[in-house]
Amino acid sequence: MTKRHLIANFPFVDAFDAVRADLPGAPLDWLQAARRNALARFQDQALPNRRVEEWKYTDLGALAKTDFAAPYGPIGDALAARIGATGDPDAIRLVIANGRVDSALSNTAGLPTGAHLMPMSTALDTHSDVLKDHITRIAALDGNGLLALNAAFMMDGYVLVVDDAAVIDPTIEVIFAGDGGQGPVALHPRNVIIMGQDSAATIIETHLGDGVYWSNPLTDVVMGEGASLRRYKVLQDATDAFHLAHDQVSLASGAHYKGFIGAFSAKLARHTVAATINGADATFDVAGTYLLRGDQHNDITTVVDHAAAGSASKQIFKGVLDDASRGVFQGKVTVHKDAQKTDAHQLNNALLLSDKAEIDAKPELEIYADDVKCAHGATAGDLDENELFYLQARGIDAAEARRLLVSAFVKAALDEIDRDAERARFETLVDAWLERANG
């Protein structure tokens, strides 16, 4: 039999018994049991190799060879300063640094009534009854070794609970920082978002750090009937960092999830976004842009299950790949037998700025209902010579002309963000990325 996993001997895994007393929810027996079961599952499943179909284009070999330890505690001052300079300093913010909430850098004072935001460690003290179901359900997700590792080593992430009918207008800022300054560390944040019936909220997550670290966040989103969530993710991880995220979203009828992923950094990143639409007339939208250079690798894998009638999903991704970077887009949409009148739309456009850059796009539609509207498209190309020449013929130099055209290309994804402040923030990040191209 061919091997379907990678051999990895991570020091942090060996240290399970030493570190588990420091992990959130240590006094909870059910949680200790769940952690131990998950660890056993990881030891059984290990990390997927490229023979596993969904991992064909993303190689975890370099990750498996790195000696990741458990995090060493506080982050460096320079990194703390960068966190301070991220986003709106007056925003409601929660900072998770090296797997633990950093209360000094956090500020949740202005949180409107109806919203409850806290780190996982606090939530397990105060709301363990609410979280138990969520955590055991996620622990039982039989995906791969990455999920099992997160379940075994689950660290601080954020827990957001929004009460029924509460509409939270201010953007909630969550910042994840990893610091591998004292040697490679592995972080396994767990986030839980529970949106009550007809509630609404907006979250922006920023991921950043220094040195070699591996962030393996798992986010569980449960959307009640008519709930609406905007969730924006900014990936600004260190250039040597690994980021392997898994989102698990479930939507009840009339719920609306609007996600956006902006991937600007990290050595190797994979964003798995899995959604199950369980209720009628729900909408799942996820858009994003990935801007890659050097030998960066970014993988966006979406798995959308339409299990109820009249629901819609939309995915729009724009990738820009320079140098020897590599992009992967795998989008799978399944429309179950009873999900009539489903409207599923998926698009990935890649702009290849170098001959050595590569994009692998794999759209997959599985349709078991007969009355549906499904469309997918994937394109790859370079900049349009006619457009470049037109700009140059007006006195705009070639580099600036390229910047204008790349930024125009990415704009079509950013236009999916329907909040001005957040769209402007992503625009600034795109501009900064383009500026660096000329540096």
Binding site: E387, Y390, Q392, A393, R394, G395, I396, S407, A408, F409
Partner: protein, 252 residues
């Protein structure tokens, strides 16, 4: 005085195919030259060679612009040195706002000339004044470059750019095609307004009607990659009456 533009024995290929086969042309400041000629004779090719488009290679001869070898310059440098090409088919650029485009171009050229760049407010004021002359609205100027413009609107937008960028040598490739009667008049007024003793124009056209408004100093007929006949404005009138047959076998 040396001419502003001096083209000598110009041979050029497009994607390897020889299209220009020995062009000689001298243009002095203040002059308006009209170029006419059958479809496919090489008029647009000449305009692209002058503007420096990729894939249009000079294989023989020379182009001297204000004493410098034009062929050695990148397209953007030519533009900053004062060459402006109004495209026969202006390019649509989705996602790039017209104002961003024009401001970037305008300031690049100002900077090259050692002039102060304009801030957003000053720039908008200037565009507003010029767009009014060409019957263009704020919306048209702000929209993504050329996207959703009608054929005639695209041509007017080319003229707005020309008015803003104030070139030394304007090459107008069939700017009159696709214009309705009123727009033709508007565009012609725009061109005439820019005529000056320091500025030269090379106007490619198929029709006399533009030349009724913008009266050329010289008319050339380009056929088979060469200038086969040159004359004054009366040459265009003869062609209008007789067609290119008047040139006999030269034009074949």
């Amino acid at each position: 005085m040396a001419p502003m533009l001096e083209i000598k024995n110009l041979h050029a290929t497009v994607d390897g195919k020889e299209v220009l086969k020995g062009i000689n042309l001298a243009i002095n400041p203040g002059e308006v030259h009209a170029v006419m000629g059958p479809n496919g004779s090489g008029k647009s090719t000449l305009s692209y060679v002058l503007a420096g488009r990729n894939g249009y290679d000079v294989t023989q001869g020379s182009i001297i612009f204000n004493g410098a070898d034009l062929t050695a310059m990148e397209p953007e440098i030519r533009a900053r040195e004062g060459i402006f090409l109004a495209f026969q088919y202006p390019v649509e650029i989705p996602g790039v706002a017209g104002t961003t485009f024009l401001k970037t171009a305008y300031n690049a050229i100002r900077k090259h000339r050692g002039e102060k760049e304009l801030d957003a407010m000053q720039f908008l004021k200037l565009v507003r004044a010029k767009q009014a002359d060409l019957n263009m609205t704020d919306d048209m100027v702000r929209r993504p470059v050329n996207v959703g413009f009608s054929g005639g609107e695209k041509k007017r937008y080319e003229m707005l750019q020309m008015a803003m960028l104030e070139p030394a040598l304007a090459i107008l490739d069939e700017t009159d095609s696709g214009l309705d009667i009123d727009a033709l008049k508007t565009v012609a007024d725009g061109i005439n307004a820019l005529r000056s003793p320091d500025r030269a124009m090379l106007m490619i056209t198929h029709y006399q009607r533009l030349l009724d408004y913008v009266v050329p100093d010289f008319v050339h007929v380009l056929a088979g990659g060469k200038i086969v006949r040159s004359g004054d404005k009366s040459l265009a009138l003869d062609l209008e009456k007789e067609g290119y047959a008047v040139l006999g076998t030269e034009a074949a």
